[in-house]
Symmetry: D2
Subunit: 151 residues, 4 copies
Amino acid sequence: MTRFSTPNPDFAARVRDSFARQRFMTMLGAELGKVRAGHCEIALAYRPDLSQQHGYFHGGVIGTLADNAGGYAAFTLAPADTSILTVEYKLNIVAPGDGTRLIARGQVAKLGRTLVVARVDVVVEKDGHEKPCAIALTTLMLMAGKSDGPA
Amino acid sequence: MTRFSTPNPDFAARVRDSFARQRFMTMLGAELGKVRAGHCEIALAYRPDLSQQHGYFHGGVIGTLADNAGGYAAFTLAPADTSILTVEYKLNIVAPGDGTRLIARGQVAKLGRTLVVARVDVVVEKDGHEKPCAIALTTLMLMAGKSDGPA
Amino acid sequence: MTRFSTPNPDFAARVRDSFARQRFMTMLGAELGKVRAGHCEIALAYRPDLSQQHGYFHGGVIGTLADNAGGYAAFTLAPADTSILTVEYKLNIVAPGDGTRLIARGQVAKLGRTLVVARVDVVVEKDGHEKPCAIALTTLMLMAGKSDGPA
Amino acid sequence: MTRFSTPNPDFAARVRDSFARQRFMTMLGAELGKVRAGHCEIALAYRPDLSQQHGYFHGGVIGTLADNAGGYAAFTLAPADTSILTVEYKLNIVAPGDGTRLIARGQVAKLGRTLVVARVDVVVEKDGHEKPCAIALTTLMLMAGKSDGPA
C-alpha cells in the first residue's frame, strides 16, 4: 500500500467537518471510521428503509458509501484551500448487501496534480464476519481555491 | 434508439410492484416515471436531507437513481420468472446536482442471453430547464428462476 | 445528438495530422473516417494478426479503436494550443468481433472546461451488415499549452 | 491478497497455450510472465510502432495488456471445459507510457459462479525502475462448455 504525505496537517479534522455537513450521510446514519493520509473508512448500520426488494442493503447505499469513501480518501491529500469533486466511478457489486453493517474503505492509488484515483472496497458484516460486497475504482478532481462549503 | 420486444406483457406492472418494494426508493421520495420496453425513468424532488456539503443533490443520490433506472430498464425485458441483478456500473458526474428535481432515464443498449447493458442519462431540473448531470453505463444480469422478492 | 461549436476551425486537419503521427494506428491499418465537431470515426479491416484465440478481432483492438475515437472526438473541440489526454474509459464488449471490418464512432456527450466525456459505439461489419460490438464511456482531459507532438 | 484454489491443475499450460494462439499478442511482441492461480502477468518491450503521437506506448497497447492480464488471471481459475469472455473493463491511465517495457499484472478479486472480477496494475519500466501507468477493474464471464479455440 502506497504511503502518502499530505500538505494539510489538519486533514482529519477537515474531513470530519465536511462529512458532518453532508446531510445525506446523517440521513443514512453513516459514520466516519479511520481517516489517515490517503485513506478513509465509512460505515453504516442496516435499517429496513435502506433496503432493496429482497430486504438487503440497496445498491444505491453501497454506491453512495463507495463514492464517499473514495472522495474523502482523496480529500485527505488536498491542500487546505482545495476541495474535491467526483469525476466518475465504476462499481462492481460482487455479492448482495446481506448483513447488519456496511463498511467502505477508500485508498488513494494515484495522486496527480489535478486528478486523484482511488480504489474502494466495500464489505458487509454478518454474524461477526466481513464479506466482500463491492469494489470500486474512482476518479476525483482537486479544485484549487474552491470552498468545500455552500457557495 | 433500438426498439425491444419483451417476453413479459405485464412488464410495467411488474416494474411498479418491484419498485414499490424498494424501501430505499420510498425513503428518498423517488417516483417511477415512464416505463416502456427497454426504458425506465425515475425522478425525485430535492430535499435538504439528500444533499452534500455544498447543498446540492448528493452524488450518492445521483448514482442510486442511475443504477435503478438502468436496472428497471433491463427488468422490462426480463421473462416473468426472471429477476435482475446489477453486475456493475460506471457513472460520470458531469455537473453538480444543482436544482429542484433529478430525473434518471435508463435505456437498454444491448440485450444478451445472460447480460444486459444499459445507458442512463441523469438530468437536473432548475427554473424549468433540464441540464445534464450524469451519464452512466451499466451491466445487469438476468437471473432465471430467481424471485424478485425476499428469499 | 448535442451539436458543438469548436474554437478551432482547422480541427479536422489537426485530427488527421495527429492521427497520422500515431504509429500504432498505422501498424493496425486503422483509418480515420468522418471527423466533425464533437465526432470522430475510426475503422480498420480484419487481419489474422489482429485476432484473439477464436480468430475474431482481439478485444485489445476493439478497445484501442474505442479509446482513440473518443479521444479524437474530444480533440475536435479543443483550442489550437490544447492537446488531449485519456483519463479513463470503460468498455463493454457486447458481442465478439466477428467480421471483416471494425468501426468505432466517438461522440462528445459533455464538454467541460477541463474534462470531456465521450460515448463510443463500436460495430463490426459482416456480410454487409453492421452489428454492435462494444460500447464505451470515456473521460478525456484538455491540456492547455501542451503540444500534441513529441516533447 | 486473496488466495485461490483452481479446479484445473493444468491451468498454467492452458493459459500458455491460449496465449500462444492470440495472434495479436505475437504481433505486439507480448510475453507471458508469472502465471499462478488467480494471477497473470504479461509484458512487452517498447517498439516505435506501438507508440502514440508523443512517442510513448499507445493507450490502446496499455489497455490491451490490462484486458488480457485480467482475462488470463480469471482463466487460471476456470474448469478445464470452460473458457473466458471479457464482459467489460474500466481503465484509468495514471501516467504516460514513457519507458522501455510495459508490464500488466492481473489479480482475481472475486470469483463467482458465472462472473469473475479482476484488478490489474500496469507499470512502465524506465531506467530500471517501475512506475505506475494504469489501473483497471475488469469483469469476466465463465463460459462452461465453450471451447477456447476457433469454432
